[in-house]
């Protein structure tokens, strides 16, 4: 019985077409990822940022990105949003009524459990041991599911190119971290608003900043837990909520939790697809036999 069952399994799996889904099994059974304190990351301190955009310029130089102008004379690099040419951007938040304002740096958060990695159809986005989430343009097929998945709308697409790829902040992984250099933006910051370092150390620095001036900061390190944790953290001024800086109140669970558990349940050990196949096969067999018997009883005039 065992042999025939296994044979059935093989045939159904191979030709019935659920074989591919086998890989879903081990990948989905994983536990929630624990943040690694030794990975690299950055701390962006909105309270210290003076809005000089030196980091933005440094990023463009490092990654050889063209300028983008939203002004008529197109002399200055003045992007309004992160884009395929702008991996990081300083944005101004202003509340005239309360007379408060704050700058915030937008960039890839290099999530601990990245939604983009979970979503990518071919695995072109991958968390690296150094902490960065790396993108492989060679593998990518441009489906843009990563853009749908990223809760921070970070991955960008080269809309103007005939053969477009995804672009986003690399944490300078290959160009600088590999050479023991900090990220270009953190090096350029004159105000100490971008600290580069290991995740564990960054958390300590952030906490000590809050403790040293509790009247200045919101008592929360954004990114410590949000969406399962990120490697890029934020501090904000007391009177400016993170949400108004484009850092919404996200849950502490990774956004890919639901899709992964659904996929996992459906394809666990092939059981559901095979069960459906078997049941349908049984019904079909039963109905055909009944039809044949009826036909024989009638004198076999049916041709099937």
């Amino acid at each position: 019985m065992d042999i025939s069952r296994r044979k059935f399994f093989k045939v159904t799996a191979a030709a019935g077409g659920v074989a591919a889904c086998a890989v879903a099994k081990p990948a989905l059974a994983r536990e929630a990822k624990e943040p690694d304190p030794n990975e690299y990351g950055m701390l962006n301190d909105s309270a210290r940022c003076i809005g000089c955009k030196a980091c933005q310029v440094a990023c463009k130089k490092e990654n050889k990105l063209p300028t983008e102008s939203s002004l008529e004379d197109s002399l200055y690099d003045s992007p309004r949003n992160t884009s395929e040419h702008t991996y990081t951007l300083i944005k101004l938040f202003k509340d005239d009524k309360r007379g408060v304002s704050s700058f915030v740096k937008r960039q890839c958060m290099h999530c601990v459990d990245p939604a983009c990695q979970s979503a990518c159809i071919v695995g072109a986005l991958k968390k690296q041991p150094d902490g960065s989430v790396k993108y492989d343009a060679q593998m990518c097929m441009g489906c843009r599911y990563c853009m749908v998945a990223c809760p921070f709308n970070i991955p960008q697409f080269e809309w103007k190119k005939a053969i477009p790829v995804i672009t986003k902040c690399t944490l300078c992984s290959e160009s600088r971290l590999a050479k023991n250099k900090p990220t270009a933006c953190s090096e350029a910051c004159p105000a100490g608003a971008i600290v580069f370092g290991r995740r564990g150390d960054l958390l300590k620095i952030a906490r000590s900043r809050i403790e040293a001036s509790p009247e200045l900061y919101v008592d929360h390190i954004y990114g410590e837990k949000e969406v399962g944790g990120t490697n890029v953290f934020y501090l904000s001024k007391k009177e400016v909520a993170f949400a108004s800086l484009g850092l919404p109140d996200f849950d502490y669970r990774p956004v890919s939790g639901l899709t992964e558990s659904i996929q996992h349940r459906i394809f666990q050990y092939f059981i559901p697809p095979i069960a459906v196949y078997t049941v349908l096969g049984g019904i079909m067999y039963y109905n055909q036999r009944r039809k044949n018997q009826a036909a024989q009883a009638q004198g076999g005039e049916e041709h099937e």
Partner: protein
């Protein structure tokens, strides 16, 4: 009573074909810009809306509306309702055309379309899209096989290759004969595989957007989404068959098959009922029904979607309505529109990526989508004209 299927063999180049060719031509022009000057030249896609109507209509609706193939196959072949056999071949053909167009549309939407085969080699099991891609690919293969008997039947025993290739007539004939036998013996296997594969990707399409809990509106963001996608796809299967059959009747000057269609329509209310029960139960359980009445665009869109699902449910329960060809057609249209609107809601209308992004399809996107639809209709016409798809009818009002 039951007659064999036969090619229609009508005049091919009619006015309608010219109209179809016009739409296809317009699409080709825009496609040129898409492929050589980038998405920005003709689409309204943006970082906040990386997926537009090519995904929500061409792919998501395309797959759902091709559900006539597997539902009819299941009813006729698996559940043994042989009397609906005449509907099977056209349904299988349209399903194949539908999926073929879905695959083509995906190629238009992919940035690096020539990397499409990467899904075969680089596996990422956590990706819902990966599973969708595999199931769609395999189901397209299965559909091709399911359509083979019609091709084999047409050419078996009368292959006449031109010129010196004529030498190959006999081997080809022999081969087709063998193929016929093999297909007859193995078809059951493919029919069931087709249904299982359909279950797989119809539901997974509903899982796709669940990766974006902060972007998709609560009315559609539910863990039940895969099941809702599956049940709504099953519900739209027969309505699509009715829709196509009715139009084919009109445009090919055939006798209406109302009796057959109203027979099979009897199943629709139970499918729709299941769907509605799950849908409303889910909304009530999650306590978000009130959102439908908050006066937002999403709320209204949901209400329209729900009524389009609910009306045919109540109407089609009545035998009198089912027996009337026009009502039947209208009810079928309602279900189809409901499913189309539902897919739009999940992939576009219910999506708010934040940052003030919004989206409305551009002329170019719409033109390319229309071109796909026109191409599909044209392929169907070619199919039924030259292959034995539709059942032969007594030639009383149309001398052959």
């Amino acid at each position: 009573m039951s007659r064999p299927a036969a090619p229609l063999r009508q005049k091919f180049f009619t006015f309608n074909v010219a109209v179809l060719l016009f739409f296809i031509g317009a699409g080709v022009v825009f496609a040129y810009f898409r492929f050589f000057h980038g998405f920005a030249s003709i689409t309204n896609l943006s970082p906040g809306f990386p997926w537009g109507i090519w995904i929500s209509f061409d792919v998501a609706c395309g797959v759902a509306l091709a559900a006539g193939g597997f539902t009819t196959a299941a009813i006729v072949e698996i559940f043994g309702q042989g009397r609906y056999h005449p509907l099977l071949r056209p349904a299988t053909l349209t399903a194949f055309i539908g999926y073929f167009l879905v695959a083509l549309a995906v190629c238009f939407d992919l940035g690096k379309y020539y990397n499409i085969w990467h899904a075969l080699v680089f596996w990422n099991g956590t990706s819902v899209l990966f599973e969708v891609a595999w199931c769609v690919m395999m189901y397209l293969t299965v559909l091709a096989i399911e359509n083979l008997p019609a091709v084999v039947e047409q050419y078996k025993g009368n292959v006449q290759l031109p010129g010196s290739l004529g030498l190959l007539d006999r081997p080809t004939n022999w081969f087709l004969g063998r193929a016929d036998q093999v297909l007859r013996r193995t078809m059951a296997f493919f029919v069931i595989a087709g249904v299982v594969l359909s279950f797989g990707h119809q539901s997974s399409l509903g899982t796709l957007m669940l990766i974006a809990p902060y972007k998709l509106h609560e009315l559609w963001y539910t863990p039940l989404s895969p099941l809702l996608f599956l049940t709504s796809a099953v519900s739209v299967g027969i309505p699509m068959v009715i829709f196509e059959a009715t139009l084919a009747t009109k445009f090919f000057g055939r006798k209406p098959e109302t009796e057959l269609l109203s027979g099979i329509a009897e199943y629709i209310p139970s499918f729709l009922g299941t769907y509605l029960l799950l849908r409303i139960g889910d909304l009530a359980y999650r306590g978000v029904l009130a959102k439908a009445f908050d006066g937002s665009l999403q709320g209204y869109s949901f209400l329209v979607e729900l009524s389009l699902f609910a009306m045919p449910y109540f109407l089609l329960k009545r035998p009198r309505i089912r027996a009337n060809g026009t009502f039947l057609f209208l009810c079928a249209c309602s279900v189809i529109l409901a499913v189309v609107l539902n897919r739009f809601n999940v992939f576009l209308i219910g999506v708010n990526p934040g940052n003030g992004y919004n989206y409305f399809p551009s002329v170019g996107e719409i033109a390319i989508t229309l071109a796909f639809v026109a191409f599909g209709v044209l392929l169907y016409k070619i199919g039924v004209n030259y292959l034995p798809i539709l059942e032969e009818q007594a030639p009383d009002h149309e001398p052959a």
